[in-house]
């Protein structure tokens, strides 16, 4: 039996147990899509629903995204891969969910694949960790000795460019934007409703998809995710026009780790970095 199959089996078993015992009222996991290679997020609410749960290498979605949608105090079991678990931790830090309301079903896994391209997802677009950082039940065997490279290796090229070239790069990328907001829909940390972009007062940028509005939208969104992005890469996979948003998020994650000595979503005791300050902060960060 493959590791994935074993995870799927365990997922069904645990989901069934949790729902039967009334420990949770919903299990957030994956269900079948229009074919094997396109599974979908799926919320199992009954024991019968459990049979529809699946897990395979295409189950990329970050289910933490749905946690803030449930009314407070709802008991939820959520299936999380490594990055997804960091999202859960970050949400706990931000008090959007309570630890005691969650049963975290951890999935240690590598070699997930992009639904669109079928390519293996690696350190280029994600944080590239194998094991969840927080879980109650592990659905597979912990993975040891996995080394997939630093999640920030991919930045070298852009960091090496001069400013003009970087501007040209982003200008070209942002011009593709159709303002469909798939990025913020996919993002586990984008839970603002309404989003700043939807506000009429103040009007931060054009509502229609103009390049100037794109710049304001994306840069502000990057800012809002700074110190919070857990590098799951979902925004970029969701993007229909393939803007490499992950690059900017990664860059800010890297800088924030350097400046604030804290990575997003690693410890539930941490305070969110951007609404905090530290005694070791220095003006060096402004240089």
């Amino acid at each position: 039996m493959t590791a994935m199959k074993k995870i799927e089996e365990n997922l069904r078993k645990e989901a069934k147990r949790l729902l039967e015992g009334g420990e949770v009222s919903v299990v957030l996991a994956y269900g079948r899509g229009y074919d094997e290679n396109h599974p979908m997020p799926f919320a199992a609410r009954t024991v019968e629903d459990v049979d529809s749960l699946v897990f395979n290498e295409y189950c990329t979605f970050n289910l933490a995204r749905y946690l803030p949608k449930y009314p407070p105090k709802t008991k939820i079991a959520v299936a999380v891969k490594a990055a997804d678990s960091r999202a859960v931790v970050q949400l706990i830090q931000e008090e959007k969910v309570r630890r005691e309301d969650l049963v975290i079903l951890g999935i240690p896994v590598t070699g997930m694949k992009d639904q669109k391209t079928g390519e293996v997802i690696d350190n280029k677009t994600t944080c590239n960790m194998a094991n969840p950082v927080l879980y109650d039940i592990l659905l597979g065997d912990e993975i040891h000795g996995f080394k997939g490279g630093s999640p920030y290796d991919v930045l070298a090229e852009l960091e090496g460019m001069d400013h003009d070239a970087r501007m040209a790069f982003w200008k070209k990328e942002f011009e593709k934007c159709i303002r469909c907001f798939a990025c913020r829909k996919a993002c586990p940390m984008c839970y603002c409703d309404p989003c700043f972009m939807d506000a009429s007062r103040p009007r931060w940028a054009d509502k229609s998809p103009t390049p100037d509005g794109h710049l304001m939208y994306h840069l502000t969104r990057f800012y809002h995710l700074a110190g919070r992005c857990i590098d799951c890469g979902e925004c970029s996979r969701a993007c229909p026009v393939d803007i490499p948003l992950y690059l900017f998020h990664k860059k800010l994650a890297k800088e924030c780790e350097d400046m604030f000595q804290q990575a997003a979503g690693m410890k539930i005791e941490d305070k969110p970095a951007m609404v905090n300050y530290g005694n070791q902060d220095s003006d060096e960060m402004l240089k």
């Binding site: 008090e95 700043f196 007062r201």
Partner: protein, 653 residues
């Protein structure tokens, strides 16, 4: 559509000299929504104010822009002006064309262009201004005075006299401050104790003053009208309620500490009152030097105390005091002159600093008022007083310490009176700009004091001249004759700089004050608000603001009392209405505002899943608004819209 009036002030020539004011008004008239624009010589004068008010009525204005001096100067004035003409005071925008424009360039074109941009920004912003209603809060009628020197005593007495309750906090075991160390005061030469001790006693007798000696301010919360101040009562190891001030304990005590009051010239007991006239007349134990605390044995004081007032178990205690206003009168430190090795203080026994000499003059001092060398018996036959030691000096303190010229003259007079010695004054410039001061200077010239115009360069005990053997040699240029002079003397007196208290910075942080570049507390305005600070309700008096003599410190103490009274005399006071509110429809419930607010103003409503701001606690800094990802917080008077509109207007030119 707004109806905006723009009023450009010439400020005499202060603005008009570099900014073309009529062109500015002309320009303003071309801007959309500007109904009227005028320029006038002095907009803050009565006719200027009337001009604005008449235009408000005549043109039915709903926004007013005044291009004049800094808003920190006259925003309050013009708010009143438009309010009296029936407009809400927050519908005003001030354009700073003086401090940040006409005064900082000489180029007319540059200044005028910048002024236009600033006015344009203000017009953009003014359109979006909203009327705001001021909040009123209850005012605590009590006042705290921190520092029991002459300035603090004066302030406390004045306030108590008006019937207000005053907490007088003093860190040492007695009030009196530096003035209690002096023998005589210039220029009248009246005895310091004779004028100070009655005031100290009055403090003790006043039923309105609660004297908190041996206490320090630990923490300050709240704001004008409602300060909440935590006071640390340092352990005295003597129960002052039981003590009947018989002072038998101080007689028996074998412990010895350095007498602060006598500038370390003599020792005092470990259980002590600082000086005979100290207020309160009750002792404290200096833990560092107490035999019992050091060796675990002794307790002599306890044995002789019939009142059983000695309590070695006493601990520091804390209390919270609520007041409506605070006066800081924390005084100064004398500069340590040891690092100035050229003057030999600490190395050459004949070199004294000014406060040491004060103690030698004092009949209650270590020598019972005899001026003698450190051996305790030899009278100096010649004395040199060195001015400006560490003052007016880039290497130390750049400012003039203001009092040294005059006290040095006083020293000269007293030395003439008490010794048979020759007295030299080594000065750079004689500064005597006070009532009776110049006359005092003249008097001393006639008393045959030798004035040498030159700053002393060195004091040494090395000499080749056998006539000078055993003397201190002061080296100086007499700049009036351009000669290098060596003066053999027995005693050298340094007049060191007065500097900010060593912990002035900490005190400033506690009360949220700014300090000037030297570390003295900074006043709100050097001329118009010299006793106020940037923190409403906190006032300053005396040498904590800059070096001062006694008359000035007393005046400031009285002045600060009056300033404090303007607050606590009212039952209620108006607060800034520019606070933050939450647009709950937009709140995403992230609670960032709750996390960042230094005042705990935002609270999270778990029922509605939105934040709410308690306006009474909000100070309007806007941190929450900048931390709100959903733009749901509105910092009134500084809304996102208003700030961005102003930016747009500024960048258009």
């Amino acid at each position: 559509m707004s109806r905006i009036g723009v009023f450009v002030c010439h400020c005499g020539l202060n603005i008009a000299k570099t900014v073309r004011v009529s062109e500015l008004a002309e320009f303003a008239r071309t801007l959309p929504d500007v109904v009227v624009a005028e320029d006038y010589k002095f907009m803050c004068s009565t006719p200027g104010q009337e001009l604005i008010q008449n235009d408000i009525r005549k043109h039915n204005l709903d926004r007013v822009i005044v291009a004049a001096c800094s808003p920190l100067m006259h925003e309050r004035t013009f708010r009143k002006v438009i309010e009296n003409a029936g407009l809400n005071q927050y519908l005003l925008s001030i354009v700073n064309v003086r401090e940040q424009d006409s005064w900082v360039t000489e180029d007319e074109d540059v200044a005028t262009t910048k002024a236009k941009a600033l006015i344009n920004g203000a017009v953009f912003r003014a359109r979006l201004l909203q009327p705001l209603v001021s909040r009123f809060i209850d005012v605590n009628p009590d006042v705290m005075v921190v520092g029991g020197g002459i300035a603090g005593i004066q302030a406390a007495l004045e306030l108590a006299d008006t019937g207000k309750k005053v907490y007088l906090v003093e860190r040492s075991p007695t009030i009196g401050g530096h003035m209690a160390q002096f023998d005589k005061t210039f220029p009248t030469l009246d005895c310091s104790a004779c004028i100070l001790t009655p005031k100290m006693d009055a403090v003790l007798q006043s039923s309105n003053i609660e004297l908190l000696t041996y206490c320090e301010v630990e923490e300050v919360k709240g704001f004008v009208g409602n300060f909440d101040i935590k006071i640390r009562q340092k352990a005295r190891y003597v129960d002052h309620d039981k003590c009947n001030a018989c002072l038998a304990c101080t007689e028996k005590c074998p412990g010895r500490g350095v007498s602060e009051w006598d500038e370390g010239l003599v020792k005092r007991k470990a259980i002590y009152i600082p000086f005979p006239q100290a207020v309160p007349q009750k002792p404290v134990i200096d833990r560092e030097n107490c035999t019992f605390f050091k060796k675990g044995k002794c307790r002599l004081c306890e044995k002789v105390c019939e009142q059983e007032a000695i309590d070695f178990e006493q601990k520091d205690t804390f209390r919270e005091v609520k007041v409506g206003a605070v006066i800081l009168a924390t005084g100064y430190d004398l500069m340590d002159t040891k690092p100035l090795i050229q003057y030999g203080y600490g190395k050459l026994p004949g070199v004294h600093h000014a406060l040491e000499l004060e103690r030698l003059f004092n009949s209650a001092g270590p020598t019972s008022g005899k001026v003698v060398m450190r051996d305790g018996k030899t009278e100096p036959q010649s004395i040199a007083i060195l001015h400006c030691i560490g003052s007016r000096d880039k290497n130390n303190h750049e400012y003039c310490s203001r009092v040294c010229c005059m006290y040095s003259l006083k020293f000269a007079h007293l030395l003439k009176e008490k010794t048979h010695g020759d007295v030299y004054q080594l000065y750079i410039d004689m500064r005597a700009p006070g009532k009776g001061y110049e006359e005092f200077y003249n008097r001393l010239v006639e008393e045959d004091v030798k004035f040498i115009r030159g700053k002393a360069a060195r004091v040494t005990d090395k000499t080749d001249n056998p006539d000078h053997a055993g003397k201190l040699i002061v080296e100086v240029e007499d700049t009036l004759t351009s000669q290098f002079v060596t003066i053999p003397v027995d005693m050298v007196v340094l007049s060191p700089a007065m500097k900010p208290r060593q912990d002035a910075k900490d005190m400033a942080r506690l009360f949220n004050l700014s300090t000037d570049k030297y570390g003295f507390f900074m006043e709100r305005h050097p001329k118009l608000a010299p006793l106020s600070t940037m923190t409403d309700g906190v006032f300053i008096a005396g040498a904590c603001q800059s070096p001062k003599d006694i008359p000035d410190s007393v005046s400031q103490g009285t002045g600060a009392a009056a300033e404090a009274l303007t607050i606590v005399v009212k039952d209620k006071m108006e607060l800034e209405a520019a606070t933050a509110i939450v647009n709950s429809a937009a709140c995403c419930g992230c609670q960032n505002c709750v996390r960042v607010c230094p005042y705990g103003a935002p609270m999270f409503n778990y029922e509605k899943n939105v934040s709410e701001i308690n306006e009474a606690l909000c100070k309007g800094c806007g941190l929450c608004a900048a931390s709100c990802p959903a733009s749901a917080i509105i910092t009134r008077h500084f809304t996102n819209d208003q700030v961005m509109a102003e930016m747009e207007g500024l960048m258009e030119f």
